[in-house]
């Protein structure tokens, strides 16, 4: 992850230098690519959640913590359409980046723990988690570039620590339940990020409504 970040950073620096020299890539284009990436992120997380659902033992859902126990629920985000549409672009970008940043570490833990899952559930979970990590990191780099164009307010990141620890649980059922819970939290947050970016894209592409 670290070298990926360094790679991403170098890529970004290169891009920035090129942009400084040449005509910069328009923000709308960047937003377009960012929203596509977030769309992919959300799709993969949805499919992963559905996959875990089918392997969850009966009654496991009852034991699952409620969604407001996600570690990112402390972040104040707009909760409905009106609020979302009324929030400024910079703040939306900041929120998206904060959410994304909060999931880097948990995704790593999930990826590591996926190997110890029961074989029935493991299936394509590991592959998907690696994809998630990949997309998340690239989206993060892209959002960093975007935020540099959108003003200082977008640079603000909220700190949302994950308190779960490296182990998801002591025994297999609890591991499975916690795994499922984390994935559902991530799915919700990825939908948030996707919605924010799509709102931003449509706002930036007022002249081209077909891109919305």
């Amino acid at each position: 992850m670290a070298d990926r970040r360094s790679q991403g950073t170098s890529v970004c620096l290169t891009v920035l230098s090129i942009m400084a020299a040449c005509q910069a890539v328009p923000v709308s284009d960047l937003l377009d690519r960012a929203s596509q990436r977030s769309d992919t992120l959300h799709s993969i997380s949805t499919s992963l959640t559905h996959h875990m659902d089918s392997h969850l033992p009966s009654g496991g859902r009852l034991l699952m913590p409620r969604p407001n126990m996600c570690h990112t629920s402390s972040l104040q985000t707009p909760n409905d359409k009106e609020q979302t549409l009324s929030v400024s672009e910079a703040e939306l970008m900041s929120l998206a980046r904060s959410l994304l940043q909060a999931w880097v570490h948990p995704l790593l833990i999930l990826s590591q723990e996926s190997r110890s899952l029961p074989a029935a559930a493991q299936g394509l979970v590991s592959t998907r988690l690696l994809e998630l990590l990949d997309h998340a990191s690239s989206l993060q780099d892209g959002l960093d570039v975007l935020s540099s164009k959108m003003g200082p307010a977008s640079q603000y990141l909220s700190y949302l620590p994950y308190h779960g620890g490296p182990n998801l649980g002591e025994d297999n059922p609890s591991k499975l339940v916690n795994f499922h819970f984390l994935l559902s939290c991530f799915r919700r947050d990825s939908h948030k990020i996707d919605s924010f970016l799509k709102v931003l894209r449509c706002r930036a592409a007022k002249s081209r409504p077909e891109s919305c």
């Binding site: 009966s58 409620r66 909760n79 359409k81 009106e82 948030k192 919605s195």
Partner: protein, 716 residues
């Protein structure tokens, strides 16, 4: 007897039940079951007729429903499958439901259900609605008997539904009361605070979104296949108005379904983005029904179907029929095949359609020569000057090659005096009779191919034949002249060895003249009534030509010698016996190879003439004495293989033959297919000189023509 299951309970997992039962092992099975039923179905009233029973029925993988009921079960009902009426009104058969105490029993059970929510749906991710039902609690069906409460966070109080629509039993949550990305729970309460709550009634609003169907569905024709059988259309639509796509709040994916009018199966096409889809391969003149539904991207719940549109393409005006095109292609293919066949079998077809017309052609005769009108050369050739090689082989087919032909009269002469050379000379003279040339008449023109040292002299029969032919035709005169019966006498003269050469020479000189007078072509002056033909040979013309030709022969000999192919040995052969001695030879041997080419014959003819001239030239010169020093006319003796063999004029000049009458009787046919005219009788016995193949004595023919069978008899 009938009974009822009075209710159903729901348990999260099955192990609880077994745990439960095991806890009371001291109870009898029935007692256990009773307790179990009471625990499972607390809110139900029982009709315990005889024995309670409960049937665990698995309706889904995650929930087990227990049908609680009681009653007597007739023994006849055992073994039948149990049918359960679920709360939704549909019957579910559960053949695998294990019966605790009884076997499966068929019975219709109506399961009473508590008030519950039937559905909660959001259309635009900003508002949502929930519908409820009182279940089997019909006393709660009045409006207001049941109330809806909701809450988002766990610790917040329950709030009542902001907007009721009692007619529909619906609760509408507007955007002010809608919070997305948050779990919402709803519950029903009756007036007496009986709460009917289910954990399944908690949800997040974004997960229950079912967008409205798209609007303004339309289609346009994209294209028609070349034969007008299929066509493609583009179906376009607009996103539903309720979904705020323009602001980016919702991103929709669509599903287009179409089917043929009379078909029951829909073809499904997923559309991820965009508001259009191309449908390919629709059949002309068939009606298609299309409808579309939408869902949120990355979510699974679809909205309702749009109104169906019907696509039909009337008979396309520009439609072409396949038939003419296929016909044209077929004809084209057939034509191409025929042409290929024609070109590949060109030669054979030409042979078939235009068979070659046989033109009159004689071997050795050049058509050019005929055109030029060189009559004497033609006559010479026809007389066998150059034809010997082609005609003679026919006579040799059955006869083996005989190297040596010895003449009996020669033998005593051979024995002594001259030695080998004379014998060789005689052999040269005696020649090739054995090879089957009786008609040659023992002329000395036959070369001795018997020399031991010279094997190549033997050569090929054709060559020998050519030589023989050459020898036998010392002049352009026809061979027939040589075959006159006078010849055996000539031959005899030779074995005698010392015939008066001058006489021969003398004879030879005029002889060719005389022979020149007769040629192969004879003009038919009259036809006898008996069938005979009166001939009048045209000799004047040839006589002049022959004299003229004698002049320039020497130089031609050189070049023509090159063309001839015969062993140098032959000429050497011819040389040796000829060269040193014997005046008898008197002829200059120039080996001349047989040239089957017509040109060669021409040149041969020339050579003949030259050779003859030479011979004639030299002979008189040499005839000073008895011995005529044979001058070797081997021009190209060592260099060229071919050289001329000029048979001496001796054989032909040996005898002066009476002039040929206008017509003569054909006695026999020469080896060269020449007709041997009637020889004078006294010479007949001289034929015996011919060693092995004496000429058969012929019966004089009364008529001047010969029938084919007689031809065969006179053939040597």
């Amino acid at each position: 007897m009938s009974y009822q299951a009075l209710g159903h309970g729901r348990l999260g997992s099955r192990p609880c039940l077994s745990q439960h039962i095991q806890r009371a092992p001291h109870l009898s099975a029935i007692e256990q079951l009773k307790r179990h039923n009471q625990l499972l179905c607390p809110a139900l009233s029982w009709l315990m007729v005889q024995q309670p029973f409960s049937y665990p029925v698995a309706l889904s993988r995650q929930s087990w429903r227990y049908i609680c009921g009681g009653g007597a079960i007739s023994p006849s009902a055992k073994g039948k499958s149990l049918r359960v009426a679920s709360s939704a009104g549909s019957s579910v058969s559960s053949p695998g439901a294990p019966a605790r105490l009884w076997d499966r029993v068929t019975t219709t059970l109506t399961a009473p259900s508590s008030p519950h929510f039937t559905a909660c749906v959001s259309r635009d991710q900003a508002t949502f609605r929930c519908w409820w039902s009182e279940g089997s609690f019909h006393n709660l069906s009045q409006p207001g008997a049941l109330r809806v409460f909701y809450r988002y966070k766990k610790n917040s109080p329950w709030k009542e539904c902001p907007e009721y629509i009692h007619s529909n039993k619906e609760c509408f949550f507007d955007s002010n009361h809608t919070t997305i990305w948050t779990s919402c729970c709803v519950q029903l309460r009756s007036h007496d605070n009986v709460t009917y709550f289910n954990t399944e009634h908690c949800f997040s609003v974004e997960n229950i979104v079912r967008p409205d169907p798209p609007v303004a569905v339309n289609w346009t024709l994209l294209g028609v296949s070349p034969y007008g059988l299929h066509y493609d259309v583009i179906v376009t639509w607009d996103p539903p108005a309720s979904a705020d796509v323009s602001m980016g709040w919702m991103s929709l994916a669509y599903e287009v379904q179409y089917r043929r009018w009379n078909s029951s199966e829909w073809t499904v096409v997923e559309v991820q983005g965009g508001t259009q889809q191309t449908l390919y391969g629709l059949n002309v003149e068939e009606e298609y029904e299309v409808h579309i539904r939408s869902r949120m991207k990355a979510f699974t719940k679809f909205g309702g179907y749009s109104d169906s549109i019907f696509i039909q393409l009337a008979n396309y005006p520009g439609r072409e029929s396949i038939f003419p095109v296929a016909l044209v292609l077929g004809i084209l293919a057939v034509v191409i095949l025929l042409m290929l066949l024609l070109f590949s079998q060109q030669q054979r077809l030409i042979l078939l359609l235009l068979p070659p017309v046989p033109t009159p052609k004689i071997k050795g005769i050049d058509s050019e020569m005929l055109k030029k009108g060189k009559f004497e050369e033609l006559n010479f050739i026809l007389s066998g000057g150059g034809m010997g090689s082609s005609c003679t082989p026919l006579f040799y087919q059955d006869e083996p090659l005989v190297d040596c032909i010895e003449l009996d009269p020669l033998d005593p002469a051979d024995a002594g005096d001259k030695g080998g050379q004379s014998s060789e000379a005689q052999r040269l003279i005696g020649g090739r009779q054995a090879s089957g040339r009786p008609t040659v008449g023992g002329l000395s023109h036959t070369l001795s191919f018997c020399d031991e040292d010279d094997d190549s002299v033997v050569g090929d029969p054709p060559d020998q034949d050519a030589l023989l032919a050459l020898l036998t035709t010392p002049s352009p005169s026809p061979t027939s002249a040589l075959l006159l019966p006078g010849q055996p006498e000539l031959k005899q003269g030779f074995p005698g060895g010392r015939d008066p050469d001058p006489s021969l020479a003398h004879d030879g000189a005029p002889r060719p003249q005389a022979w020149l007078n007769t040629d192969f072509y004879a003009q038919v002056s009259d036809v006898m009534p008996s069938g005979g033909v009166v001939l009048s040979p045209g000799q004047q013309l040839r006589a002049q030509e022959s004299t003229a030709a004698r002049e320039g022969q020497k130089e031609k000999e050189e070049e023509e010698a090159k063309k001839k192919k015969l062993g140098a040995q032959i000429e050497g052969e011819g040389k040796d016996p000829v060269g040193d001695e014997e005046p008898e030879q008197q002829f200059q041997l120039v080996v001349m190879a047989a040239d089957p080419v017509g040109d060669g014959y021409t040149t041969d003819a020339m050579n003949w003439q030259t050779g003859v001239v030479n011979g004639y030239h030299t002979l008189p010169a040499e005839s000073a004495g008895d011995v005529i020093a044979p001058s070797v006319a081997v021009k190209s003796a060592e260099d060229y293989q071919p050289s001329y063999i000029l048979p001496d004029a001796s054989p032909p000049p040996a005898r002066y033959l009476p002039p040929v009458s206008d017509y003569t009787i054909v006695q026999e046919v020469d080896y060269q297919h020449s007709l041997i005219l009637n020889p004078p009788p006294p010479q007949a016995p001289a034929h015996q000189c011919l060693p092995q193949h004496p000429v058969k004595p012929l019966t004089p023919m009364p008529v001047g023509y010969i029938t084919p069978d007689l031809l065969g008899s006179i053939t040597p």
